[in-house]
Amino acid sequence: MTKAEQAVAGIVAAVAIALLLAMLGGVLSPTYFLFLFGLGGMYALMSLGLNAQWGFTGLINFSVAAFFGLGAYGAAIMTASNSPLAGGFNPIFGLALALALAAVVAVAIGIPTLRLRADYLAIATLGLAEVIRMVILNEGDYTAGSQGLRGIPSFFEGWPILSAFPETMPGLEIEIIPGQAVVLGTSFWRQLLNVSLMLAFLGTAFFVLRRAHRAPWGRVLRTIRSDEDLAKALGKNTYWYKMQAFVLGSLIMALAGVFYAHLNLFVNPGDLDPITTFYVWVAVMLGGAGSNRGALLGGFVVVAIREGPRFVGDVPVFALDPGPLRLLLIGLLIVLVMRFRPQGVLPPQRELIWPTAIDDDNRTTPKMGVREAKTDGEMQGSTDVSTEQSGGGDSDE
């Protein structure tokens, strides 16, 4: 482990212990903790999506909030009780609509903008995200406009067993500190179910991205990020790869939106505020562009920034409104990361080569086996090349 990894592991452990103690001591309700954990996972999910776009491929996408919103609205339109269109469907159909919507819009935005220079892409995506927000706000016949969509069921509504799970679970009372009983009731089990959904989404996205990142596919994306002309010169259809990364990332963001709709049970156009985009950017930058672990970490840190000011607001020294304090922290974090650690806290460390290939290779390729293929050109006494032939060849994993 690198120093940074050790530090992060230490801090994560400390925070986990502190939260556990807070819960046992009755300071933090387990239900609220699960809610926060779910939010953290939601941001982590969006960060993974942005990581595929910016971290892998170098696409500056400032429309994260729009795809998150499309996911949330896709889920809500199919399931909300006041949905002007469909409403009342099984949430699975909401999930399907959300993903379809995100994919179609991603392609529609991607076709024109992915040809643009990086900074133009940033401006264009931010502008188009605003267009999407305005459409959702103003087309009330489809989206219920500014009143938002309410009466969204939990994701597991209508499923066997799971839909009734929170009600059927017994209320538990855990008393570790005498007189400070922690009660786990229906709402706790409901949040637990939400968190399981989030973990399922997050696990899927993480698995897909990790595999893709280590594959030749991810290598092409990383080449594009570093030098798109080089990728073209090496025969890669860069536009097509950028489109794939853009759509994949957008789908993951929409997944976060679906989760949010069923967590919050209410969505409105305010959920597409561009500030969400920048929260996610902070998460990815902080974690380290291209690092999936970093994106996970960043997602949870961002929720700490988002929700933390609520608590410190009570402390007189920080007697600020949570709103500006949040904004200030995000702003300072952006500036400080760019100034002192632009590569992020957990930048990708290891070589990204398809895992089974590299292990076998190291085992079976004898060091001297292919030497004879070498021509017997004059051996140059080259200082920087032929001297240390021995040392480097073995890969150190």
Binding site: I60, P112, T113, R115, L116, R117, A118, D119, Y120, A122, I123, A124, L126, G127, L128, E130, V131, M134, V135, L137, N138, F278, W281, M285, L320, D321, G323, P324, L325, R326, L327, L328, I330, G331, L332, L333, I334, V335, M338, R339, P342
Partner: protein, 312 residues
Amino acid sequence: MAVTEQFLELAANGVVYSSIIVLCSIGLSLIYSISGFANFAHGDTMTVGAYATLVAFGAIGGIGFSVLSLPLGFFLAVVIGIAITAVVALVTERIVYKPLQIGSLGLLITSIGIAFIYRALIQVGFSAGTYRYELEALRPIDALVQYGIRVTEHDVAIVISTIVLVVGLHILLQHTDLGRKMRATADNPDLARASGIRTRNVELWTWTIGAGLAGAGGAFLGLFNQLVPRMGFNELLIIFAAVILGGIGSVYGAMLGGFLIGMIVEMTPILSTVGIPIGSEYGAAIAFVIMVLVLLVRPEGIAGQAVGGEGG
């Protein structure tokens, strides 16, 4: 007849709004080409100008004679607001942007952080509520109402002040040594450096002028609407649209782009009157779509080449 009246009213409003966008576009365009990055803090720089003017006006008060129902004190306050905005931008440039070694994309992202810091500090100091300058609310000018035009004397003051500032900038650019260097640097920074222009000096002046104009734009936006912490950020994309339409790096392009985009945003209601089913709420959306189209079809903007080379 009704269409004509609506047209005149919207056009008059559009001219006032465009004036503000023009002021802000010039600065964003200059900074974009001379410092080499898209400054996402430019909108919040406007906000700084508006609140600085508010504070200055509160301190000075409505002293002196009035022009167009605005006391001399207000104009003084605007000048102080401009100065404070320029200082804030220069300090930011010096302690934040300058030490960074991360390329234009890193600067772009950093500027978002700066935007949030400006806005957060304004919210801390002034709360998230709305403010107005302590001026008497005006009725539209009677002489114009009969033509359907509803503008106040304050609106006229905004337009005239903009004209004064733009003409001043024009004289600076065309007839001073600094102006020539700025145009040359905006046109081609590498060439300018190669031909011995001290670009650092030019860069600092660019920030001063660009932020100062944004400060003026913000102060006038506060007069046109009201002051809220998000006022500048809300206009940011409109200003980007103007700059891109005009051509990045071209001062005169930014003026033209600012005027056109401002008019388009304000004139959108005319569309539904003439039968095109696009509501007035999509004014900004139209501007953003135009922006994307320009980026795709003519990234150098309408005036990109022509005006940039004109003075050389």
